[in-house]
Symmetry: C2
Subunit: 406 residues, 2 copies
């Protein structure tokens, strides 16, 4: 099935500058897709540090298990990613497949298998042909290219209708450091630690524990605030590789500007995932304020963003704020009903526990006809705030998911 | 919009015998729907006891607030139900509207307003014209009919494609007592105490506290085990009225056969709700066994039943058990992965932490082509079990909910 490109897609991929110490190569294995690349090798110079956050799904992919196991080493020399088969729920055979990939990569690049991170995305439960992947790796290792990041972004997609990438730069002690990231994700998106697959590359020098803390904080504000369908993937993987080639003094404690750049980059990518949500015609940004704390605010915002009735109403360009109130209420958290305000596109449609009297619906309707729908909610007078992103629920989602596997 | 009748609909309503002490009348107010009845009055003889369970949504309808307030009285003389406007989130005006309905009914029937139960279903947040309802009540009170229960079942529907009713009888001390119920519900179905609207009528004599305990237990096994879209209505109301006309010695402690009849009746109605889930083409029954306790089993089963990816896979007749594993895993409860078994239509497709080798997929595919899909899961060796019902997720759901309000 060939999908039309999301109407929310950016016009083009951003220019992706080479990151010193990082090289890419992609290949077409034919494993599942025809006429497109589906296998990515990224190689990192010696000294590269790494941080990662992974799915909290109890049923997690074999590559996730492997990455968790080697992450404490804090060092990375390679990343191998295949698209089309997620290598999940295959028992001992699934673990062996990851080991095969790591060993073939280590042998091709002259590093240890424990320095090779592995990620897989696609159908759950099917046998992964790791030997096929292993046969491609020496050839890939022979043509690694620092300029091939855009190609890498195109290689890792599955039901995505556009490749996703973003870049940020920041000054550290007079040195410009750059962080670039690629990402894929479109369905089975309710990340509970990270999104489906996102890989960040930076030339900054960062100690692994510090990188881990900053990456985790960035994920909490970005990937953990996006949902397409409330279904949490078994393979969510966010990895950040830091080569240290920028020459900055190594970052060994939380660094505000670098942490901000990382969070902005992750937010940019997370919003791209929502914009490419399966069947998406509109991006929906939900904000909640006045909750008891930020965590409560996020639960309320996610309940709105996950509600099929809210999402179909937005698809139908219907300012059905009653469904927003329903979604907030079903969470079970206390809400000051008399203070509840719901706005579409900045225009209050309900406040003080009831509909706004004599509302001019025309500007609300105009807002809902656009591609970028904002739902802002105030639930009381507490300090808790959250912002999350999702997309509308349309026939496209049914088309894609009624026939994905077959 | 006129909806095609669900292919899962029963051939016809069951015969609904009169329940001694209960009379019905329905009218067409024209408030929202054209050319159909939308207002129901049920009247009960003096001495009728009542029990009820209601939505746990924090944003609850004004009628729910009223019913909760009068329920401790334990006595009922009337029930007023309107379809098309749920009377939710209207502040003091919404409470006044319920009061107007109760007082008009009390005046027409010669009882106290606090003996009049009220329920409303339909759009959230719109002003209810209670005066219009009040004007119809005297006329309705003048033509109450014990034989009009089927008509009542047709009056209370909204997006339902068929009316729902069921009957059970049981012997108590040599007397036959009958329980009959009518119900509506199709979308915004993830009841958290009861379904959208269900009203049960019995000629048994039952003390209010005993009736309440048995009704709650029945709801837990039936309405609380059905989901269409994970969205919990603001107006879920289950009421049971017992007239005592059967002449049995009053039931004053949990009565096994009567409790069983009540639970069976509720289960019958709950399954009808799943069969009429918006856009439903298939009924899905999910069972989970081997969980730590029944509550955990229900959470796991509901995660499968609520997963848009599982529901679209069933719509596409795709035995995508990987999505079932994903849905189980996202709950976060411990699962013995090595013991996990997933079966479609009784045929194991995954076990012992991986796909069944050399599976003959033909009988699985045949099962999925049917209307009645069974997904049975075993997650370990614990004593917890649950069975829940839902429907598949199809284009019909999007059609209905993208344009319901407008």
């Amino acid at each position: 099935m060939s999908l039309p490109v999301s109407p929310l897609a950016p016009e083009r991929l951003p220019d992706l500058p080479p990151i010193a110490g990082v090289r890419f190569a992609s290949a077409e294995t034919g494993m599942r897709y025809k006429n497109r690349k589906d296998l990515l090798l990224a190689a990192f110079d010696p000294g590269t540090t790494v941080a990662g956050v992974f799915t909290q799904n109890v049923v997690c992919g074999h590559p996730v298990t492997w990455c968790r196991q080697i992450l404490p080493g804090g060092r990375a020399r390679a990343l191998v990613v295949n698209a089309g088969n997620a290598n999940v729920f295959r028992g001992a055979e699934g673990d062996r497949a990851v080991r095969t990939e790591a060993e073939a990569t280590a042998s091709a690049l002259g590093c240890a298998p424990e320095e090779v991170f592995v990620a897989s995305t696609g159908v759950i439960g099917m046998k992964l042909d790791a030997e096929l992947i292993a046969r491609h790796l020496p050839e890939l290792a022979g043509r690694l290219d620092p300029a091939a990041m855009a190609d890498a972004a195109r290689t890792i997609v599955t039901t995505d209708t556009f490749p996703k990438a973003a870049v940020r730069s920041v000054e550290i002690d007079g040195r410009t450091v750059t962080v670039a990231g690629i990402c894929k994700g479109s369905g089975m998106i309710a990340p509970n630690m990270a999104t489906m697959l996102a890989f960040l590359f930076t030339d900054a020098a960062v100690a692994p524990a510090t990188l881990q803390a900053m990456l985790q904080a960035a994920a909490d504000r970005s990937f953990n605030c996006v949902t397409v369908d409330s279904d949490t993937s078994t393979s969510d993987t966010l990895l950040c590789f830091a080569t240290g080639k920028a020459g900055n003094p190594p970052i060994e404690a939380d660094h505000g500007p670098f942490a901000d750049a990382l969070a902005e980059l992750c937010t940019d990518l997370a919003i791209q995932v929502a914009k490419d949500g399966e069947g998406a015609q509109k991006l929906i940004t939900v904000t909640v304020e006045g909750a008891a704390d930020d965590r409560s605010a996020r639960r309320l915002a996610m309940a709105v963003a996950d509600s099929p009735l809210v999402k179909t109403a937005v698809a139908g360009e219907d300012a059905n704020w009653g469904r927003v109130a329903m979604a907030l209420g079903k969470v079970g958290l206390p809400i000051e009903l008399g203070a509840l305000t719901i706005a579409f596109g900045g225009i209050a449609v309900a406040k003080d526990g009831g509909a706004v009297a004599d509302l001019d619906e025309a500007p609300v309707e105009r807002h809902l006809k656009g591609r970028d729908v904002r739902i802002d909610v105030s639930v009381g007078s507490g300090p808790g705030r959250a912002r999350v992103w999702t997309c509308d629920l349309t026939h496209g989602y049914i088309d894609i998911n009624g026939s994905y596997r077959s």
